[in-house]
């Protein structure tokens, strides 16, 4: 039982990333009708916002310590971060320690801007082009973005640790009546799941309870009619592109402490996220979220020793297998709407 609960937790955790990326993808597809293969790159840029803030907070000045030597035997140059010099060692160290959560504030305007520039500068020119063209241009953009990141940050993964207070693990088993050590789970993974639920809730609330969201939903249902009412739906959709970019970016910011960011991380998630969107149903926001968590959990269970021993390789194909089964039984996906991608 404890093993099952552990894999469910792992699945929710993986599913959080899938759901957030798929949510953004669906927002863009549902509003603008664009298949955005650069969405994984937005996730990666978000993670590198955290890396950048961490580097900025660690900007240092050098002092020479004659008592220590560097690898060539010269006096060691000791680096002291400016924030520690300005705010004192303790406050400065705390600010650096909390760089990942602080990066949320740093990333939001950057990701909105990146999304806005991406949509206005490139993607809007492809609205009336076939989906194949959209896929090619956005995939090309993703490669360009990841090469730019590699140029500035290198190919090696870069650690972005969580704050000390949120690192380490917690014994969840004891809290629900299991033996000690039965369900040990990393604190930051729980934080990530909670954060994902919060972001998903915020996006849905925004669409459901604000006038802006109502207009966007109306535009997703019938763009032409909303346009005929004199509403500038294109502008709102551009803003939604920015919001989708911010959602992907925030998913990336908070993902860094789970696995160190590298320039390729967006591509690692991209294909899986598209499968999530298709399984959930093209254009369906609840479907994207549901499928994200569902596939995350299934993938976790497929990675257990029991599963890989029973069906070798199942951990590598489970998501695609489920996609095939869902599409055979429900061609529009779990929560797909009639008419989407069917004209």
């Amino acid at each position: 039982m404890d093993a099952i609960l552990l894999q469910i937790l792992n699945g929710l955790d993986k599913g959080s990333a899938y759901a957030l990326i798929a949510l953004g993808l669906t927002l863009i597809f549902g509003t603008l009708g664009v298949v955005n293969f650069a969405h994984g790159a937005l996730f990666m840029i978000g993670a590198f916002c955290a890396v950048t803030l961490q580097k900025l907070l660690n900007l240092s000045f050098e002092t020479v310590d004659e008592s220590q030597k560097d690898f060539l035997g010269n006096p060691l140059k000791v680096e002291t971060p400016y924030v520690e010099a300005w705010f004192g060692p303790e406050v400065g160290a705390t600010i650096i320690d909390w760089s990942v959560p602080l990066a949320i504030l740093f990333a939001i305007p950057i990701m909105l801007l990146v999304g806005y520039v991406m949509e206005r500068g490139l993607i809007k020119h492809f609205y009336k082009r076939p989906h194949a063209d959209q896929i090619l241009v956005t995939f090309g953009l993703a490669i360009v973005l990841q090469e730019i990141v590699k140029y500035f940050f290198g190919a090696n993964p870069i650690q972005t640790p969580p704050p000390d207070a949120l690192s380490g693990s917690v014994d969840l088993g004891i809290m629900v009546g299991f033996d000690p050590n039965a369900i040990i789970y990393p604190i930051w993974r729980l934080v990530y799941f909670g954060f994902a639920v919060g972001i998903i809730g915020a996006v849905f609330s925004f669409l459901q309870f604000t006038t802006f969201g109502m207009v966007v939903r109306a535009g997703m249902a019938d763009r032409e009619t909303v346009g005929l009412l004199g509403i500038n739906i294109d502008r709102r959709f551009t803003i939604m592109f920015g919001i989708a970019a911010a959602v992907a970016g925030l998913a990336g910011v908070m993902y860094g402490p789970l696995n160190p960011p590298n320039y390729h991380m967006g591509m690692d998630f991209l294909v899986l996220s598209f499968v999530v969107v298709v399984v959930g149903g093209m254009g369906s926001l609840p479907g994207a979220v549901l499928a994200g968590f569902l596939l995350g959990i299934l993938e976790s269970f497929a990675s257990t020793t029991w599963a890989t021993t029973t069906i070798p390789g199942i951990n590598q194909i489970i998501i695609y297998l489920v996609a095939i089964i869902v599409l055979l039984t429900r061609p529009r996906g779990l929560m797909g709407r009639k008419g989407v991608m069917e004209e």
């Binding site: 552990l6 792992n10 690898f71 060691l76 640790p161 040990i184 789970y185 160190p260 390729h264 020793t305």
Partner: protein, 448 residues
């Protein structure tokens, strides 16, 4: 009177034969005037440096390339000469190779076997490279080694750790300076016994490809010989980015040691995940839980950050060694590039010098002469102390390092501390050892 009329069928046949001939790669149809492939005829000789310039190991490839460029400088008499001053063979004079200036071309392996073969082929065919050096993957090494054997050029492997490179896939034209998975196990086992005891239960997570399998096999064999029990061996897909599903069951498996047979990004992520799950804070079977990473590199250690503290592993070489060869190389590299070299950089540097030295001693660029000069060559002064290039399988034997993630690093490069320098004799094995069985070295191929 004979009928000499031209038929449609005849034209087609002739065309097909001619087309096939033209389509054949020139490396297999080199001019009969040359004694061997890409025989240098001018004032220079071209070496091909095939390293990952893009992809997940691009940092490693960049470090290799820096070392290769440094080696070329030293061969041409530029810079401080580096290990030319410490190398026990005194055949190299800093005047190029056999009096010819050394030039180089580079290729990008992308850490993909097909891309690596294509770039090596291009350097041999189009650029006239007479030797190929570099790489950061066993799959790439085996693929390029095979190509070089067919093409008739020498392959001086870079970072390749799978037993197969000098085991079942060994080739007469290929030489490996880097150590292998068997040697990692042989070096690590006594240290593991001393630090963790002989009654341990190990759980292996293994990258699901050739290198991972051979490393798992080697480490399982050497730890079980100590008396350890192997609780489970789980294969993880190479493309995995999150290992939480694989790490979570370890806690309740009855194991008290986790062995991560992962490299590069896989290792950085699996170790990070293992630390997140608090494995190193746990007590299992009445013992402190431990993690072992059998193959380390400095770049991986940097990627893993603080998570690597206290974790044991093995290395081919480390810049902190105090032998004269190491000190000379670290000084040259450090002063030129402002950082210490990685162990893959050191291997590539040593391989370029060893190739050049073999040419000088053989008095020829002919691959068969070089093979003869390198086989059973014993030398010192390039790092790791006295070293032997065994003729039977073209595997280099030298001391192997057991290292540990540094608990108290004094600078950003001080990520690993040397725990033990395992003597060469302890990591030697019979060329017919079952882990290396199944292949034939064959005969050297000069091409042409």
């Amino acid at each position: 009177m004979t009928n000499k009329s031209v038929t449609r069928r005849g034209v087609l046949k002739s065309g097909a034969v001619a087309g096939t001939g033209l389509a054949l790669p020139t490396i297999f149809t080199a001019s009969s005037a040359a004694a061997f492939t890409n025989e240098p005829t001018g004032a220079s000789v071209t070496l091909g440096f095939n390293v990952p310039q893009t992809g997940p190991y691009a940092e490693e490839g960049n470090d290799e390339l820096l070392a290769q460029q440094l080696a070329v400088e030293h061969l041409n008499g530029e810079g401080d000469g580096g290990c030319l001053n410490t190398f026990t063979s005194k055949a190299l004079q800093g005047n190029g190779i056999l009096g010819k200036k050394v030039e180089f071309v580079t290729g990008d392996t992308q850490t993909k076997s097909d891309a690596a073969r294509a770039s090596a082929k291009s350097m041999i065919e189009k650029d006239g490279a007479i030797m190929i050096n570099g790489g950061s993957s066993s799959g790439v090494a085996v693929a390029v080694q095979g190509l070089c054997q067919e093409a008739g050029v020498i392959f001086m492997a870079g970072l390749t750790h799978a037993n197969d490179t000098t085991g079942k896939d060994k080739k007469a034209n290929g030489f490996r300076h880097f150590f292998n998975a068997y040697m990692s196990g042989a070096a690590l086992a006594p240290v593991l016994a001393a630090e963790m005891g002989k009654e341990r239960r190990a759980y292996h997570l293994t990258a699901d490809y050739n290198w991972g399998w051979t490393q798992e096999e080697s480490i399982v064999a050497s730890t079980e010989a100590l008396g350890w029990e192997t609780v489970n061996t789980v294969k993880t897909p190479l493309a995995s980015t999150d290992f939480s599903s694989y790490i979570a069951p370890v806690l309740n498996s009855g194991a008290d040691v986790l062995v991560l047979n992962h490299y590069g990004g896989n290792m950085v992520n699996s170790l990070t995940n293992a630390i997140q799950f608090g494995l190193l804070d746990k007590v299992a079977n009445g013992k402190d839980f431990k993690i072992v990473v059998p193959l380390y590199s400095e770049l991986m250690a940097a990627g893993a950050g603080e998570n690597i503290k206290g974790v044991l592993g093995s290395m081919n070489w480390n810049w902190q060694l105090q032998d004269e060869g190491t000190k000379a190389f670290v000084k040259s590299f450090g002063e030129k590039y402002g950082k210490p070299p990685s162990n893959s950089a050191q291997t590539c540097y040593a391989q370029v010098l060893l190739y050049a030295d073999a040419c000088e001693r053989a008095g020829t660029f002919n691959p068969c002469g070089i093979v003869e000069a390198l086989e059973d060559f014993e030398f010192d002064g390039l790092g790791n102390g006295p070293t032997w290039y065994r003729g039977a399988d073209h595997q280099c034997f030298k001391d192997v390092l057991v290292v540990r993630g540094n608990e108290n690093p004094t600078n950003e490069y001080d990520t690993l501390e040397i725990v033990e320098i395992t003597p060469r004799a302890q990591v030697e094995y019979d060329p017919e050892h079952p882990m290396f069985a199944g292949g034939e070295l064959g005969k050297c191929n000069p091409g042409a």
